[in-house]
């Protein structure tokens, strides 16, 4: 069968709404787009554990400590599940799990802008749980009907756990919102710090060429802007309901256009942070990741040696 015909048949499968599996034939472009997306997703889950992990030792009560610890553990677990999916996609390209894991240490894979930022107070930990996870949940729920079967299945499990993250984050925020004047100020400060990052999180407003191809292949079915609008729909009223002010004087819902009007984030600034790992915490967190990966290599190697020895006997 010629490549052209294979590609045509592949697209017919996509249009019929069939799921593609790891062992199926797929166009290189489909594989590359998926791999890039899932690799970045996996690495973002793992790097996303770092800003919150900083608050595990400093959590204000034992219950909060257990809660945030469970959440951090989930995020690393999500990274593990997604790495498995990425690994199978990468194998035919001669890339291994080690490559996928160490790419972040060598600055060869990007992770979400929000995880490059500082978590200054306990309220930041709350805002991450509430709004960063909230934004990520909108992204992930929209991906549930992706055309790639292994990704769809893993996302189902991830989303089930995210619903705990959602409640966990909201609970921290609600406690602060009902607290003292100082706690409410701390919360407002955190929101001020995170808002622009959150708007940037969904990516550029225009549909890039790669994004269009992902839509064609039904890897994604929604555009960045559609997801950002969903986020604003769901969260603006809730943020306002607890007496917080969103730090964007331009923000309003346009009844005629049926969409939110907002100030654009500093696209250039955040792109640089993500591209060059030049955010306030990028290098520190990558160094921690490098330390964890490199310093524990001997353990992994020892386990391999013990397996090989057993195999010989």
């Amino acid at each position: 069968m010629s490549i052209d015909q294979r590609e045509r048949e592949f697209m017919e499968r996509i249009h019929r709404g069939e799921k593609i599996e790891a062992t199926d034939w797929m166009p290189d472009e489909y594989r590359m787009l998926l791999l890039k997306l899932i690799h970045m997703h996996a690495v973002s889950e793992i790097m996303g554990a770092y800003p919150e992990k900083e608050w595990v030792p400093k959590a204000p009560s034992l219950r909060r400590k257990l809660g945030i610890m469970a959440k951090v553990q989930d995020e690393v677990g999500h990274g593990q599940l997604l790495l498995r999916v990425a690994e199978d996609l990468a194998a035919p390209l001669g890339k291994t799990r080690e490559d996928l894991v160490s790419d972040v240490i060598h600055g060869k894979v990007k992770f979400h802008n929000v995880f490059h930022m500082e978590t200054k107070s306990w309220a930041d930990a709350g805002v991450i749980g509430w709004l960063v996870d909230g934004a990520a949940i909108i992204n992930q729920v929209a991906l549930l009907d992706t055309s790639y079967g292994p990704y769809a299945r893993v996302l189902k499990r991830i989303c089930a756990e995210e619903s705990f993250h959602m409640q966990h984050g909201e609970n921290i925020i609600l406690a602060l919102a009902m607290g003292t004047e100082e706690q409410r100020e701390m919360l407002q400060d955190a929101l001020n710090r995170w808002w622009e990052s959150l708007i940037f999180f969904f990516g550029p407003q225009h549909v890039t060429k790669a994004a269009q191809r992902m839509l064609d292949y039904k890897i994604r079915t929604k555009t960045n802007e559609e997801l950002r609008q969903q986020f604003l729909n769901k969260y603006v009223p809730r943020i306002r309901s607890i007496g917080l002010t969103i730090p964007d004087p331009k923000l309003r819902y346009d009844e005629k256009e049926k969409k939110w009007i907002y100030s654009e984030p500093d696209w250039e600034k955040f792109s640089r942070i993500v591209r060059d790992n030049q955010g306030p915490k990028s290098q520190e967190r990558i160094a921690l990741r490098r330390f964890a990966h490199v310093e524990q290599r001997w353990v992994r190697e020892a386990m391999m040696r013990s397996r090989d020895k057993l195999a010989v006997v």
Partner: protein, 127 residues
């Protein structure tokens, strides 16, 4: 050095979890591990952080034999299979009515047995 780990690496194990002894083991995903023991721990950490489970199987991926997705003929339903299904016998309801009776279902029998059991327990308590 950087590469050495990239070559051999851990093996892939498919993971099956049994939620309770009344259920079958169900495939939930896969992990990488250096040994079956290691895979069992990884499986528990990855898939049972919240959900209950009573048993886990891990199976080296290459030991799983599967039908290829492209071979849809394998699953072809070449003819009407109504004769194998409950829905193929829906006329029973109408036929029973001719004898002044109703169609019976498994669910009704199960329900009746359950009620009987409850009554038995109740009368035992009263004694």
């Amino acid at each position: 050095m950087e590469r050495s780990e990239g070559q051999g690496l851990f093996d892939v194990y498919e993971v099956f979890v049994q939620k309770s002894q009344g259920e079958f083991h169900t495939h939930v995903g896969s992990v990488v591990a250096s040994s079956p023991d290691h895979a069992l721990y990884m499986a528990r950490e990855n898939f049972l952080r919240r959900e209950p489970g009573v048993n886990i199987w891990v199976v080296p991926r290459e030991h799983v034999h599967a039908t290829p997705y492209e071979e849809t003929d394998f699953f072809a339903r070449e003819m009407d299979r109504k004769y194998r299904e409950v829905s193929g016998y829906s006329e029973n309801g109408r036929l029973w009515r001719m004898f002044r009776e109703k169609a019976l279902s498994i669910e009704e029998i199960a329900k009746a047995l359950e009620v009987q059991e409850l009554q038995k327990r109740k009368s035992r308590k009263e004694k």
